[in-house]
Amino acid sequence: MPKLSDIEGVTLAERFELAACLQCGRCTGGCPMSIRSPLNSRKFLYESLIREDGEALLEREEVWDCTSCRTCSSRCPRELDPAMVMRAVRTVKIEGGRIPKTLMDAMESSLKHGNPWGRSRMKRTAWAEGITVNSIEEDAESERLWFVGCTPAYDPRAMGMAKALARIFEVAGVDYTTLGSEEVCCGSEMLRAGEEGLFEELSEVNKENFAELEFAEVVATSPHCMNTFIADYGLDIPVTHYTQLLAALAAEGKLPFGGESEEVKVAFHDPCYLGKQNSIYDAPRNVLKAVPGVELVEFARSRERSLCCEGGGGRMWIEGMGEGERNAQIRVRDAIEMGVDVIATACPFCLLTLEDAVKTTGSEGKIRIFDIAEIVVNSIDGSERSE
């Protein structure tokens, strides 16, 4: 079994300068998981200080509950980075090989098939059958790459995002191309789950693709892909989220929204990787406000204080130890109490966790979950395309 103290030859406490920790608990106070899981970052840091090398932390399974939302790190008055401590512990656990089976499958699939969903590379473009999607495989050249992402490409529900975006780009005349079946997983979740080696393998492939095809700009469907391109890839080209592109198109009047429409009350759920981690709060709201008939309302916990849906940090493939109501369920209940018709979001993981929560809280028929791209298409084409 590898040891925590083996990381770069220093202890966890030294590596993350934990002696500076005040034990104030602001990190834990902001942690979306601490309410319902044994995960407690303040205590975790304390343990790694008082134990000589913190090895006992390797026994703590709650490290898998962390969603890597980074609320803890953003709130620490000493600028410490508890989220990175969690990741470091995960990395050592991964080297030891004893990790949740579902996560293991996702990692092996990412290496073998280039996606964490256990699906064949050959089926990566199946979502695009019968609709207009530009692709380098059909010689569509562009300086703008639309990075579709694994979940929008493979998950039957999240596919709605990819289809909606392809339709919007078509009607708005957006110049773009996709990598088709050459696209591989961005590696964001694998890195955050602690599999640094796998992230490197995946990111190398993408970086080579980006450089070879001389893209000048990348637009991502998922805030997770976008974030890792910005935070971890070190690209020298701008990377944006699709909501930023749609907001610009809306401002230029290039989105041909349908005229007549019923009033719908929509609450926007800020994805952590879009909001908290990249401060993109206004673009998604501006798109929603531009859609005729949408009345945008705010959750009590929104923007910087938004409640994490628990889908990040590899959690899409980790059951976790958390008990009681899931954050996404809380979100759905809150929205219903607010009299909201639709929760809008802009992330495939949020979309799936919220859809799940509608079912597990028995709220079908009371509220609907849509991605912003789907809401835009509903208005443009006048039909609901979410199913």
Partner: protein
């Protein structure tokens, strides 16, 4: 204890559109991702667990070409002390008897106390490698083992039978045990682990000394065909919920199940 494990590098055919090659007797393998055979992952894990428990050294064997070394590196990454790969062009498309002769050749004069292998491979699924190797070595063999414990010069094993039944067998070493899935929980092998293992040597043997002459005729594949399309198949379309509901209705209609 001297322990050996045999692993195979196989194509992953889930979701693949398989086609019979022009010779009518083999499958087109191009474009398929390859990985360690599922059963062998359990055999490898069991070998490592046994080594950790009783001590000794572990040698991993593989019959395959250079591309197949990836599976041997996984063995080295999780604790194999040595890796041996044997290959000869004459072995491409070989039948299980020929493969077993190659396995026997790879083992050579080294007397292993315990040899583990997967109960079958996910590509051709003959399930003959282990028993044939034991036969060639003249040692004991137990197949489809889903529980085992080494005790001195014996192994206590449980063989999986039909319907959830198990048969307990006590077998003297040396022996070849072929492992059923589910016997343990194979660990994750990190990319870093595999990369480190790239620095460890792999002994490469050619087929010299492996006599295939009497094996080739024992089993000959005449032709390979895709199963004929069945009549009356119905593809269920719609959202997962709709498909599940339709499934339920169909099962109720058909009776006997629900």
């Amino acid at each position: 204890m001297k322990i050996a494990v045999f692993v195979k590098h196989v194509p992953d055919v889930a979701e693949a559109d398989l086609e019979v090659a022009a010779d009518g007797r083999t499958l087109k393998g191009a474009g398929l991702p390859f990985e360690m055979n599922e059963w062998d992952r359990f055999a490898l894990e069991e070998a490592v667990l046994i080594k950790d428990e009783v001590g000794g050294d572990l040698t991993a064997f593989l019959i395959g070409d250079e591309a197949a070394e990836e599976s041997l590196r996984r063995c080295l990454a999780v604790g194999a002390d040595r890796a041996v790969r044997l290959w000869d062009e004459a072995l491409s498309g070989a039948n299980p008897f020929e493969i077993a002769a190659a396995m026997r050749g790879a083992v050579g004069d080294d007397n292993y106390d315990l040899i583990l292998c997967g109960a079958q491979s996910s590509d051709y699924g003959y399930g003959m490698g282990g028993p044939l190797l034991a036969e060639a070595l003249g040692i004991n063999s137990v197949a489809l083992v889903n529980k085992m414990k080494v005790e001195g010069s014996k192994v206590l094993v449980t063989r999986e039978l039909e319907g959830g039944w198990g048969e307990e067998v006590e077998v003297n070493l040396p022996a070849v045990i072929s492992i059923q899935t589910g016997i343990n929980e194979p660990r994750y092998v990190s990319i870093l682990g595999i990369k480190k293992a790239r620095k460890k040597p792999i002994d490469v043997l050619d087929g010299a000394g492996v006599d295939l002459s009497s094996e080739g005729g024992k089993l000959v594949v005449e032709s390979l065909q895709a199963p004929p399309l069945g009549e009356g198949a119905e593809f269920l379309e719609g959202s997962p919920e709709e498909v599940a509901e339709r499934c339920l209705a169909l099962l109720k209609e058909a009776g006997g199940v629900l």
